[in-house]
């Protein structure tokens, strides 16, 4: 208890335990900082950059930066919000995100961020990259068109020996997240369900069951992402 420290987000006084990451500390104080690659309980990597905040004029990711005593954090300010919106738009144009035909639509976190930032059209030109769909696993479909390379599946989906079922392939603009052929064949239903659940977009889709949530009752149909956090 004695480890409580004080800091400010957009001028608002906040308190949290020392060592907490800014994004978690903000949540405790009823402030939502948008995230995409971050998952509670999983070591952060700061790869999507959506949770960027400004501290002392420097841009930092709030999922990887611990709060410090007296820290003054800028989050919900026009410039930072526009930066986040740009990043969301960049993700939309860099993949093939056809929301109307995607099973994850309505529960997709990337789409939900598009809603949050009221993205009417991305400011960047669409790339329409040529991407593959890997349906070789009996349990899941890995659709590269929709992948945003957030690493969530890489970090969380492992077999009982601790081996990763997913991994990166290539680098830079050609970066992909691919499924291990062998382990993908041995995948259990539980792991497949978890993989689909942990994927923030529709890149990992469980086979043989689909569109089982009616339009209107999906996660973000009526409620904005992060609205449960905001005081």
């Amino acid at each position: 208890m004695s480890n409580l420290i004080k800091f400010k987000i957009d001028g608002r006084d906040c308190m949290s335990e020392k060592g907490n990451f800014i994004v978690d500390a903000a949540r405790e104080n009823g402030i939502y900082i948008p995230t995409l690659c971050n998952m509670p309980g999983v070591k952060p990597k700061g790869s999507c950059r959506i949770c960027t905040v400004r501290i002392n004029g420097r841009l930092m990711t709030s999922c990887t930066t611990p709060v410090a005593d007296g820290m003054e954090i800028e989050s919900n300010v026009a410039e930072i919000q526009d930066l986040r919106k740009s990043i969301v738009e960049l993700m939309f144009v860099s993949g093939n995100h056809f929301c109307p035909s995607c099973e994850k639509s309505g529960s997709c976190e990337l789409q939900a961020l598009g809603y949050l930032f009221q993205m009417m059209v991305p400011r960047f030109p669409y790339d329409f990259p040529v991407r593959k769909v890997d349906a070789s696993s009996p349990k899941i479909i890995k659709d590269q068109n929709r992948c945003i390379q957030c690493k969530r599946c890489i970090k969380t989906i492992k077999d009982d020996q601790g081996r990763s079922l997913f991994a990166f392939r290539n680098r830079g603009h050609r970066l992909e997240v691919v499924l291990d052929k062998e382990l993908g064949h041995l995948m259990t239903d539980e792991l497949a369900n978890l993989a689909m659940k942990n994927c923030p977009v529709g890149s990992i889709i469980k086979k043989e069951i689909g569109f089982n949530t009616a339009i209107g009752s999906r996660k973000f149909d009526h409620q904005a992402i992060g609205s449960e956090i905001t005081l």
């Binding site: 999507c48 950059r49 990887t64 930066l83 991994a167 290539n170 680098r171 603009h173």
Partner: protein, 603 residues
Amino acid sequence: MEKSVKQIIEKYGTAQTRLMDILIDTQELLGFIGKESVNEIALALKMSQVDVEQTITFYHFLSTEPRGKYTIYLNNSAVAIMYGQKAIKETFEKEVGIKFGQVSEDGLIGLFDTACIGMNDQEPAAIINNRVFTKLTPYRAREIVRYMREGKDMDELIHESFGDGKNHLPSLRSMVSSNIRRKGMILSDKYIYGSVTKNILPGILPEAVIAEIKHSNIRGRGGAGFPTGLKWEFCRRAKGEKHYVICNADEGEPGTFKDRVILTEKPELVFEGMAIAGYAIGGDEGILYLRYEYRYMKEYLEDVLMIMRKNNLLGENIAGIDGFNFDIRIQYGAGAYVCGEESALLESLEGKRGEPRDKPPFPVEKGYLNQPTIINNVETFATAVRIVENGGEWFTQFGTEDSTGTKILSISGDCMFPGVYEVNWGFNVEDMLDMVGAYNVQAVQVGGPSGTLIGPDEFHRTLGYSDLSTGGSMIIFSKQRNLLADVVLNFMEFFIDESCGSCSTCRNMPEVMKNKLVKIISGKGVKSDLTDLKSWGKVLLASRCGLGQTAGNPIISSLKNFHHLYDELIQKDKEFDQGFDLESSVQRACKYVNRVPKFHHHE
């Protein structure tokens, strides 16, 4: 074959942190790391196959497909192209009968592009089976292919004489030239190797070594300019089971080659600097992280280390100082510019993809294997020896107040005498151009593609951490060069190829910016494209590492300093043009259905 990979695994052990060494040796042994090898390595290291492959596919010189008995990696940097790389490339393609990126059907020859190989002062250059070929001409390219077909071995492929300096040594036998054109305290021949270790260290405490380094005000020579003394002090104070000294010899910034020269001519100085650092921070293990492009120095550098061990400059109780143990091993990169970023370098050292880490924690607290680690540039270690020899105070007489000492510049491009020049900080660009014999200069790229492109009205500026900061790369472009098409575009392609891809910003934005640049160069640009580029480039500042943050600099910097070049290209009579052209976009479909396109131009 299985047995050999097995032997490699036995050599390095089954810790996942040595995966890079295993992969590099396997690649060299078999020419690729195929399914069977991946499976064997994955089983031994208890990893999934995709996990092994994600490291392979990150590095340019590792491959899951065969790359040919002879593998030609031809440099495609801007300066190489200025010196005729295109003709060499065409010759290779014509002679081998394949395109770059392919391997001949008989598996004999593979042709691959590669980013700057640190030979900008002797382009066009290529790496063939770990040997460097410089100053290539179409004739030589033809001849080399013919010799390959005749089955000649690597030594027989070479007609050139050895380069200057130590390049003739039996352990190097390299046609690379060091081209040292100006010596200062580091490149000087006056220092006797080992004298600081033997004569000074026994009488000085580690804290005092750090104090001298701090007093000298030396800042990191890699480009970022962090005060070296502070780094060493932080690391010494950090708690850990072990402290590590890492030398960053991954100079990948196009146009930089001074570390290659220092390591060729003064490796003892660098290794001694690492040992001194080990003494200062209380570490007994040093690693030289050497870019794979310099693999040709392997035997030579191992020899130097062996001699130093023999002379008790490395090993146990060095120079008779009880408990001063320090040794150095060399670990290689495998072709990834981003590994020059210190935390990416650590990831690579640990056998992983070179993706920069989130900071904090900083490497001085949690570095290699999560232990306190200093990572310094080759030049920084070499300089540290002279500082400890002569004292921090002595050092401050060189250079300027905020940039003390000397800087070794790699100067290339349009000048009479490209090569390596050691100058005092505070040198101005005008003098530099006069020094190297550069005339009719249009622009100078200071600090490589991630740095700044400046024109004549800024040539009065000086080199230093507070004005023109540079890790050492200086590329000169004369008036006849097409800066946007031949330089800026080339640099953008470099960043696109070399992004690790971890951050969404650096993975995607350079491509978006490049596409816009191509549109402008092709004459389809409009005024709003320029404002777009300016504001879009800012998104990159949200990237994790310095390399990502500067990945748009070629465009951002040229937009600022060479705005007129863009202005000349954009369409004056149009507000809107996204580059769409109806006539060309129907060509393919019409051709396929056998139809002549007709357009109703009704107004």
